[in-house]
């Protein structure tokens, strides 16, 4: 086996959850493949406890558009999407040098963006 690229793209938790759920529902495959079945089961169980469980493609697309003015790196955007931060403290952890790069107002509006796009049906969940 040969590695052409060890990281050709980043995947969001939502994408992984979506793919794995499809694999899980494919019963034929599940019967034969022990290793695949167990890693799929465990990963789905982990991901179902993260905010990505409530995400849908349209919301993610809108969310990424709304993030553009903040000038975040790809990895930072991905982590914000995966973690759906609710406090300024979490923003400070995810975004490097956030004190210099974002003003307090920007941090608050960023939290608002997260709440608007990713946290809507919090009450039902």
């Amino acid at each position: 086996m040969e590695v052409l690229k060890d990281c050709s793209a980043y995947l969001s938790n939502y994408e992984v959850l979506n793919i794995l759920q499809n694999i899980k529902s494919d019963k034929k495959q599940k019967m034969k493949q022990n290793q695949l079945a167990s890693i799929t089961y465990q990963t789905v169980r982990y991901l179902e406890e993260t905010p990505c469980k409530r995400q849908i493609p349209e919301k993610i697309r809108g969310f990424l558009k709304a993030l553009e003015p903040y000038n975040l790196t790809k990895c930072e955007k991905l982590t914000v999407l995966n973690m759906s931060p609710k406090t300024p403290l979490e923003i400070q952890l995810i975004i490097e040098d956030s004190e210099d790069r974002l003003t307090d107002d920007e941090v608050n509006s960023l939290l608002q963006v997260v709440a608007n796009f990713l946290g809507e049906d919090e009450q039902d969940g």
């Binding site: 992984v16 495959q29 034969k32 493949q33 290793q35 890693i39 465990q42 400070q92 952890l93």
Partner: protein, 203 residues
């Protein structure tokens, strides 16, 4: 925390699989080979994402199976450095706090990367953050197994499992087998906002 790795491999399809579609047979074969395994310097393989190229198949003398070169992309667990993850405390020991994500268990937060000052409680077998309340008092915050913890990934180690030579003494063999996990992560919680989620709920 998940990435796509682009890999290339020659897949052997045994004759009794010939009645199936080639794509399905290759998918199964790749998943059988890689799922739930650590690929050195790539990460923990989860599941096949897609096949991007299938070259011509060959049959070699003396083997009824077909051999096909394929290029494919695989979903791999490989958090980037400095990434923030959430996991569960598996156990505490003098070596630090062991964290699990359910599908991946080899995460250790070493003692010098815990909140400062921390001590290890031998009775409870747990690490304790001696939180300074500001008025000279100390408040003990225990890190018990099963608690949800947020941490930063600060290091990764891949260990290639090499076949052991025949003249190894049996003692070293057993002790080595215990310690080596092919892929392990080092974590840190020595910042504001890191550690048990309950510590920061009201901030």
């Amino acid at each position: 925390m998940f990435v796509l790795a682009e890999l290339k491999d020659t897949v052997r399809i045994p004759p009794w699989e010939f009645k199936r579609k080639l794509n399905d047979a290759i998918t199964d074969e790749l998943n059988r080979k890689l799922a739930n395994k650590v690929y050195n310097d790539v990460g923990l393989c989860i599941a096949l994402h897609d096949i991007t190229k299938i070259e011509e198949s060959y049959i070699f003398p003396g083997d009824g199976a077909s051999h096909t070169k394929v290029v494919f992309r695989y979903i791999v667990f490989r958090p980037f450095m400095e990434e923030i993850l959430i996991g569960k405390i598996r156990s505490c020991s003098v070596d630090g706090v062991h964290v699990t994500l359910g599908f991946f268990e080899d995460i250790v937060i070493p003692p010098h990367k815990l909140q400062h000052p921390s001590r290890f409680d031998q009775m409870e077998q747990a690490w304790v953050w001696e939180y300074d309340t500001g008025d000279g008092e100390k408040h003990d915050l225990f890190m018990d197994a099963g608690e949800i913890i947020r941490f930063r990934v600060i290091s990764e180690t891949f260990t290639e499992a090499l076949p052991t030579g025949p003249n190894m003494s049996s003692e070293t063999e057993t002790s080595e087998a215990k310690n080596t996990s092919p892929y392990s992560l080092g974590g840190a919680i020595d910042e504001q906002g890191l550690g048990l989620l309950t510590w920061w709920e009201n901030t």
